[in-house]
Structures are given as structure tokens and as C-alpha cells.
């Protein structure tokens, strides 16, 4: 007995159309997001674009004069919370040479 699929032209056409909907998903680029939270603190969350987290990855807060203000590592939940420095700074998520994300203080969202 022929399968039900071939009794329904629309269903068969749908399956054929689906064959063309395969897309690429390859890279795992680093990403980092920082938000201002309560009490003048900033919370940064790191990760990779394939959905994996980044526990233990270095995240430094660096002044415009290149001094490291807050040397840190992301916790088990891939986040790090630190007090907003008084001077101008940027956040550097550093998963290794060439695998970095820079976030300037101007790009940190207010709560």
C-alpha cells in the first residue's frame, strides 16, 4: 500500500520544499554584553555565538590609559559583576589572542 504521503500532493510538495531550507551554522564567535545594574555596578555576560557559555574566561576592565582597573574572570554562570570605575574605561572579553570583544563605556546600557 502506498504511503499516505503520496496521496497528498500538498504534503509531498512541502517536503520537497523543505529540502532547500538547509542553512549553514558554523562559527562560534566570541560575544559579550555589559549592562549597568543597581548600585553603580556593571554586569558583563560572555559567551560564544554557538550558544556556549564562557566560564573562567578572562574579562578585564581597562582604562583609556591602558592600565588594568579590574582584572577578572567570568564565574560559573559566565558573568562578572564589578563596580563602575570612576575614570574612562573599556571592557575586554579575552578568550585568547584574536578572540576578543571590546565594549566601550559608552556602549554599556543603563538599567
Amino acid at each position: 500500500m502506498p504511503s499516505r504521503l503520496f496521496k497528498k500532493p500538498a504534503l509531498a510538495a512541502g517536503f520537497i520544499a523543505l529540502l532547500g531550507v538547509c542553512n549553514q551554522a558554523l562559527a562560534h564567535n566570541p560575544m559579550c554584553e555589559c549592562k549597568a545594574v543597581e548600585d553603580g555596578q556593571i554586569r558583563c555576560t560572555g559567551g560564544f555565538s554557538d550558544g556556549s557559555g564562557a566560564p573562567g574566561v578572562t574579562l578585564d576592565v581597562i582604562g583609556y590609559d591602558e592600565t588594568i582597573l579590574v582584572p577578572g574572570k567570568l564565574g560559573a554562570d559566565s558573568t562578572l559583576t564589578f563596580k563602575r570605575p570612576d575614570s574612562e574605561f573599556y571592557v575586554l572579553f579575552d578568550a585568547g589572542p584574536g578572540h576578543i570583544v571590546e565594549i566601550d563605556q559608552a556602549d554599556i546600557e543603563a538599567p
Binding site: 502506498p2 503520496f6 500532493p9 509531498a12 520537497i16 529540502l19 562559527a27 564567535n29 566570541p30 560575544m31 554584553e33 559567551g47 560564544f48 555565538s49 581597562i62 591602558e66 573599556y90 575586554l92 579575552d94 589572542p97 584574536g98 578572540h99 576578543i100 570583544v101 571590546e102 556602549d107
Partner: protein, 179 residues
Amino acid sequence: MSKAVAAQPSTTLGRWWHKWRFHINVLLLLVPLGFMPKYFADASLFRGDSGLGEREIGIVQVGPWSLKLAEFRNEAPRPDGPAGYMKSFNAALCDTCIDQVKAAYLRIGKPRSLRAAGVIFFGTPYRMGATMPIPDRTKADAELWITLEGWDGSMHQASIPLSQASPATVAWLAQRGTK
């Protein structure tokens, strides 16, 4: 002998399908043919048979060294989920500097430090690749900075206008408007 007769579909399309449903499967064999030109073009691009990339930018002099740079695909940046829009470039180091250059980096805008020099090129020095994020606030007159780090600890930098490196990206920026 069984006298059972299957009920005939009532609509025209139904009857046509019922009659031809097995024969038209042959047409499925033709489907892959439509994808062949793109398949072979991609295979040639990935192997390097059609050059360093879809659009060669030219040779960029970086201090004592130089590299040949190309856009991997001559198209606007592609989205990569929450990491934002990404653009891929390929590069080949000059023959004499292959032994001297330890790493090559790419970034939009002048790097603050070697640590923040941007994305790193990986692969053979004859054909390296890097996928660079395009920040939301990139302006049309932005510059693409190339940083080369030598085994001797030296660092050399050069920049070219983004409009020269990737007209497709500049057109894409203009279309979506500067944020």
C-alpha cells in the same frame, strides 16, 4: 478476484496526482542539477582555485612586511546571531615574511593595544582567513586596520579605508543607516 475498486479522487489535481504520482518522482533527480553551479563555484572558492577570495583588494604594505588581502565573499556582512554581523576576509603573507610573522589581526578602527588588535587570521600563511565583527556604529569612512606581530616581538600596523576593503559593506552600512 476482488471487486474492490479504490475510490477515485474527485478533483482534477487529485486525479492528475493519482495517475502520475510515481512517474514524476523521476523529476526529483533533476533537482540537484539546479544547485550544481553554486556548488562548484563554492568548491572552487574554498579550495582557492578561483583566487584568494571573491574580490581581491590588493597588496597592503605593513611596515617591512606585506600581505595580499581579499574579501572572501563580495557581499554585505552576514548575521551571526547575538554576535552581530560578521564579514570574512582572506589574506596571504608575502613569501619573504612568512617565517617572520607570528600573527595577523584585523579590526575596524585603530586598535588600542596588541591585546585588542581584533580578530586573528588563522590557517596557512598562503591563505589565511579571519571573520571580523562589524560594530553597529561603524561609519562609512571607517578604516580597516591590519596588525602584524613578528616572532621578534615587533608589531607593525597599516590601515586601508573600509570603502576600499569592502564596498559591499559600505553600501550595506549606508542602506541600514548609522546607528
